[in-house]
C-alpha cells in the first residue's frame, strides 16, 4: 500500500422541487430523499398534490468489490503521495405528473495529482483503455521543450482526441440554449450558416455510454437523444433545457444539474465527430512548418472579447512534415468564428476519446462531459 494512503467515503442525497409561475421559477431543495422529505418539498406550494404511484427504483451506488485495492495499486504505480483517485456514482429520479423517470449515468473514475500539472483524468469506470490513459497521465513532461515566438501565426494540428476539447469550447458551449437565448453567444443568430469549410458533422450524444457525459434521460425527465449541432460544417442544432427550448424553438433534452442543489441548465454531454478519410500522418507530412498538439490542459472562451485561449500541455514542432522538438507548455489564441473558419477540410480517420478535460465547469459548477474526435487542422492560430 502507498505510504499515507487514506480512504474516505461520501454519500450525499437530496431532492429539489421546481415550480413554474407565470413570470418566474421557484426551487426548493433539501437534504433527504425519503417519501417524507419529498412530501415536505412538494407541500411548499401545493396543499394537495398526488404523486404518480410508481415507487422510485432501487439504486446501487457502492463502488464495485475490489475498487479500493485497484485504487491503491494505481496510487503505488504513480509513486506519488499527492494522488487522489475517486469513484463517482450518481443516480437520480425525475418525478413529473406523468410518472417517474430514472436518470442513469455511468460510474466514473477521476484521477488527479498535484504533481501531474493541471491535467487530470476522467473516464468511465471499466473503460478498456483506462489503463493506457493512466500510464499516459503518469508520463513526465519533457524537461526542455521548444517554445515558439509569441505572436507567431501557425498551422496547428489537433490530434489524439484534442480536437474534441477544441470544439467543446468553440461550438459545444456556445450553442447552449441560455447563451443563445440571451444573445451572449457569438454563434447566436448564425443558425444555418456555414461555420467551417470542413464538412464536419458534430453531434452531442448522451447515448455514448463509454464517454463520461452519458445519461439515458436528462435531469428534466426527457429521454436522451443525440442532437446534431453541425452537419457538413453548417450550424444546425442547439442544446436546450425545457425553459430555453421554448425561447429557441427547438426540442429540449439537455437540462442537466450539477447536483440536486442546483437547477437544471443547458449543458452539453458528449461531443462526437465521426471519422474522415485523411490519414493523420499524411496531414502532418503535408505541413512544412507548424505545431501538432497531443494534449490540452485547458481551454476557455472570454465572454467579453469572444476570444478563446487554449493551453497546450504537450505537442511537437513540425518541420518539413516530421515531428521535431517537443513543445514547452504554451497558449494559443484566436477569435471563435475565425478559428472555426480556419479549420482545414481534411478530417482525420482516427476518432479518439479525450480523457483529459472531462470535468467541464460552467458558472462555477462542474459536470462530467466527454468527446471523441479525429485529427483536425486549424490553418492559423496565434501563439500567445
Amino acid at each position: 500500500m502507498a505510504a499515507g494512503s487514506e480512504v474516505a467515503s461520501c454519500r450525499v442525497d437530496g431532492g429539489a422541487a421546481r415550480w413554474r409561475f407565470p413570470s418566474r421559477w421557484a426551487i426548493h431543495a433539501a437534504t433527504g430523499v425519503s417519501s417524507f422529505a419529498v412530501a415536505g418539498l412538494v407541500s411548499r406550494y401545493a396543499d394537495r398534490l398526488e404523486l404518480p404511484p410508481s415507487p422510485p427504483p432501487a439504486v446501487e451506488l457502492n463502488p464495485p468489490l475490489g475498487w479500493v485495492d485497484w485504487a491503491r495499486e494505481i496510487a503505488e504505480r504513480t509513486a506519488d503521495n499527492n494522488t487522489v483517485i475517486r469513484f463517482l456514482a450518481r443516480r437520480a429520479v425525475v418525478i413529473r405528473r406523468d410518472g417517474w423517470r430514472q436518470v442513469t449515468s455511468p460510474p466514473l473514475v477521476r484521477l488527479e495529482s498535484r504533481n501531474m500539472g493541471s491535467t487530470a483524468l476522467l473516464a468511465v469506470w471499466g473503460h478498456p483503455r483506462l489503463g493506457d490513459w493512466i500510464r499516459a497521465l503518469s508520463e513526465p513532461l519533457p524537461t526542455r521543450g521548444w517554445g515558439p515566438s509569441p505572436g507567431l501565426q501557425t498551422p496547428v494540428i489537433f490530434t489524439d482526441g484534442t480536437a474534441g476539447a477544441l470544439l467543446h469550447e468553440l461550438v459545444g458551449h456556445l450553442v447552449e440554449g441560455d447563451l443563445i437565448a440571451n444573445g451572449r453567444s457569438p454563434l447566436a443568430g448564425l443558425g444555418g450558416a456555414n461555420l467551417t469549410e470542413a464538412a464536419i458533422d458534430l453531434t452531442d450524444d448522451p447515448g455514448r455510454t463509454d464517454l463520461p457525459g452519458a445519461f439515458d434521460c436528462d435531469d428534466e425527465g426527457i429521454s436522451a437523444k443525440a442532437v446534431t449541432l453541425m452537419r457538413g460544417g453548417r450550424l444546425c442544432g442547439l442544446l436546450c433545457d425545457r425553459e430555453t427550448a421554448e425561447v429557441c424553438g427547438v426540442a429540449p433534452g439537455r437540462g442537466r444539474r450539477a447536483d440536486w442543489r442546483h437547477p437544471p441548465v443547458p449543458r452539453l454531454s458528449n461531443l462526437v465527430i465521426p471519422a474522415g478519410s485523411a490519414a493523420p500522418g499524411a496531414m502532418e507530412a503535408d505541413l512544412s512548418h507548424g505545431i501538432v498538439v497531443t494534449r490540452l490542459s485547458g481551454a476557455t472562451v472570454d465572454p467579453v472579447s469572444s476570444r478563446t485561449v487554449l493551453r497546450v500541455e504537450r505537442g511537437f514542432e513540425i518541420r518539413n512534415g516530421r515531428r521535431r522538438r517537443p513543445l514547452a507548455p504554451l497558449e494559443l489564441t484566436g477569435g471563435v468564428t475565425e478559428i472555426l473558419a480556419a479549420i482545414d477540410p481534411a478530417v482525420g480517420d482516427d476518432p479518439s476519446p479525450d480523457w483529459r478535460l472531462g470535468w467541464c465547469v460552467k458558472d462555477g459548477l462542474p459536470l462530467p462531459t466527454g468527446s471523441e474526435a479525429p485529427t483536425l487542422m486549424v490553418r492559423r492560430l496565434e501563439v500567445l
Partner: protein, 452 residues
C-alpha cells in the same frame, strides 16, 4: 427533515445528531473520534433586467465522522442529521478505515478564539432591493453606457457543531452573502461578469460596488492597442488574486525533498519584494470564511505566511504538521461536512496597512500595462520557477488610457515577478479561486516582459 424555518432549532438538531453518532461510536473498538455536523440554508435570487426570474432555496445538512481505532483511521460523510444518517456515517467510516496513525489532534491543542457576532440574515426582498439600487448606480456612474443584465444574489445562514471523544465541542453559526453580476456594455458585444463578496448585507453600498465594477468595465471600451517588451505592470485585485492563488501551494507544509520554495528564493532569502506580506486569517470578521477554530478544532489565528517578502510559517492540518515537522497552528480547512479536514488556506490575503491608494498606484508609473481581468487561472510551475498569466488589460500613458489589449500573456520567472512587486494597493477585495478565497489588492510590478 431539518427545518430552517426556525434557525433557533439548529443547535439542538446538530447536538442530537452528534449524540446519535457518539452512541454508535461507543459500541465499537473506536479509540478516538470526531464528529462534525453542519446545517445550512441558502437563498438564491436571480434577476434578469430587474425582473425576478428564479428563486432557489437550499436546505442542506449532514455529518462527517473521523475515527481511529488504535491502528486504522477512517472518514465518512453522509447527508442528513437523523439517527439513520448517524449509523450510516459511523458504519462507513469503520468500513473504510485503513492502517495509519491517529489523524486527530490531541485535546490539549483544541480551543476557540472569540469572533465578533456576524450579520443577520437579510429580510426577504433584500435581493431585489439591492439589485435595483445597483442597476441605477451603474447606469448613473456610466451615463447609461452600462446596464445590469443578470444578477444572482446569494444569502445564506449556516450552523455547525464539532465534538470529540474527549467531550470537547465547538459550535458556530454565521450569515453569508454574495452577488454575481453580469454587466452589458453599450457599443460592444459580450458581457462582463463579476463576483462580489458582501461582508455585511446591512451596509451594502450600491454606489461603491457600481464604481468598483463600472470603472473597470468602461476601460474595455477603448480602441484596441497592443505592445510588447519590458513594461511596468499594475495588476487589478482580481488578477492579483489569481497570482496569489497560484503561489498558495508554496505555503502548505510538505516534505523537504518536495518543497519548491527554496528554489524560488532570491539570494537574500526573500520570496518577494518587501511590499508583500501575506496571511491566512479565519478570525477576520470581514473575510468570507469566519470561524472560531480551524476545521479540526485548533483555535483560529492569523498565520503569517510571508512577512515583507520573507517566508514565515506553513499552513498544515494537525496530521500534516506532524508528518512534516511543523508546529500545528490551525491550518485545517473544512468548508462542508462532505470534506475531510485538509491543509489549506481559509482566507489567504494581502496585508495592505502600508499600501498605496489605487489612484496613487496608477500614477506611479509613466507607462504601464494595467491588467484588468484574468482570462484563465495563472499557471505557475513552482518547481521550475516559471509562470504564465493570461489577462485582458489596458495600456496607460501618464495615467491616460492608450488602448485595450484584449488578450495579453505574461510569462517568465515567477521569483523575478514576485521580487519586482514595488507596491500594494489598499483596495482589498475578496475573490473565489480554485484554491479558495483570496483577499487581494492591486499590485505594482516593475519591468516585466510582456509578450503581446
Amino acid at each position: 427533515m431539518p427545518s430552517h424555518s426556525r434557525p433557533d432549532d439548529l443547535p439542538a438538531q446538530l447536538s442530537r445528531a452528534i449524540e446519535a453518532c457518539g452512541g454508535q461510536l461507543a459500541t465499537g473498538k473506536t479509540k478516538r473520534w470526531e464528529v462534525f455536523a453542519k446545517s445550512s440554508l441558502t437563498r438564491e435570487t436571480e434577476l434578469i433586467d430587474g425582473r425576478l426570474r428564479r428563486t432557489v432555496q437550499i436546505e442542506e445538512s449532514g455529518i462527517g465522522v473521523r475515527i481511529w481505532d488504535g491502528a486504522r483511521a477512517g472518514f465518512a460523510a453522509i447527508s442528513g442529521l437523523d439517527g439513520s444518517a448517524a449509523r450510516s456515517a459511523v458504519a462507513a467510516a469503520r468500513a473504510g478505515a485503513a492502517p495509519g496513525p491517529d489523524p486527530l489532534p490531541p485535546h490539549r491543542l483544541l480551543g476557540l478564539t472569540a469572533i465578533p457576532p456576524g450579520p443577520r440574515m437579510p429580510p426577504r426582498g433584500w435581493a431585489q432591493h439591492v439589485t435595483g439600487e445597483l442597476a441605477i448606480a451603474l447606469a448613473s456612474m456610466s451615463n447609461g453606457r452600462l446596464r445590469l443584465g443578470r444578477a444572482v444574489v446569494q444569502e445564506g445562514h449556516y450552523a455547525w457543531r464539532l465534538c470529540t471523544v474527549d467531550d470537547w465541542s465547538a459550535q458556530h453559526h454565521r450569515t453569508v452573502a454574495s452577488m454575481l453580476v453580469e454587466v452589458l456594455v453599450s457599443e460592444r458585444p459580450g458581457i462582463w461578469r463579476e463576483w462580489v463578496h458582501i461582508a455585511d448585507p446591512e451596509s451594502f453600498a450600491a454606489e461603491a460596488v457600481a464604481a468598483r465594477i463600472g470603472n473597470r468595465v468602461l476601460l474595455t471600451r477603448h480602441r484596441i492597442a497592443t505592445d510588447q517588451g519590458l513594461h511596468d505592470l499594475i495588476l487589478h485585485p482580481e488578477v492579483s488574486s489569481q497570482l496569489l492563488a497560484a503561489i498558495s501551494p508554496l505555503f502548505l507544509a510538505c516534505p523537504d525533498d518536495r518543497d519548491p520554495l527554496p528554489r524560488l528564493l532570491g539570494p537574500d532569502g526573500l520570496l518577494s519584494a518587501y511590499a508583500l506580506t501575506l496571511v491566512d486569517d479565519r478570525s477576520d470578521p470581514t473575510a468570507p470564511v469566519v470561524s472560531p477554530c480551524d476545521g479540526e478544532g485548533l483555535p483560529a489565528r492569523r498565520i503569517l505566511l510571508l512577512e515583507e517578502g520573507a517566508p514565515r510559517h506553513r499552513i498544515a492540518s494537525f496530521a500534516d504538521a506532524r508528518r512534516f515537522d511543523e508546529t500545528p497552528r490551525g491550518g485545517a480547512v473544512r468548508l462542508s461536512y462532505r470534506d475531510r479536514p485538509s491543509s489549506g488556506p481559509a482566507n489567504l490575503r494581502v496585508l495592505t496597512d502600508d499600501g498605496m491608494a489605487a489612484g496613487e498606484l496608477l500614477s506611479a508609473s509613466e507607462r504601464a500595462l494595467y491588467l484588468l481581468r484574468p482570462l484563465a487561472p495563472v499557471a505557475a510551475d513552482l518547481r521550475n520557477d516559471t509562470y504564465s498569466l493570461i489577462a485582458s488589460g489596458v495600456w496607460l500613458d501618464r495615467q491616460r488610457v492608450r488602448g485595450w489589449h484584449p488578450v495579453v500573456e505574461l510569462s517568465g520567472s515567477l521569483g523575478t515577478l514576485l521580487r519586482r512587486i514595488d507596491a500594494v494597493g489598499t483596495d482589498l477585495c475578496w475573490f473565489q479561486t480554485a484554491q479558495g478565497f483570496v483577499g487581494a489588492s492591486s499590485l505594482l510590478v516593475r519591468r516585466q516582459p510582456v509578450v503581446g
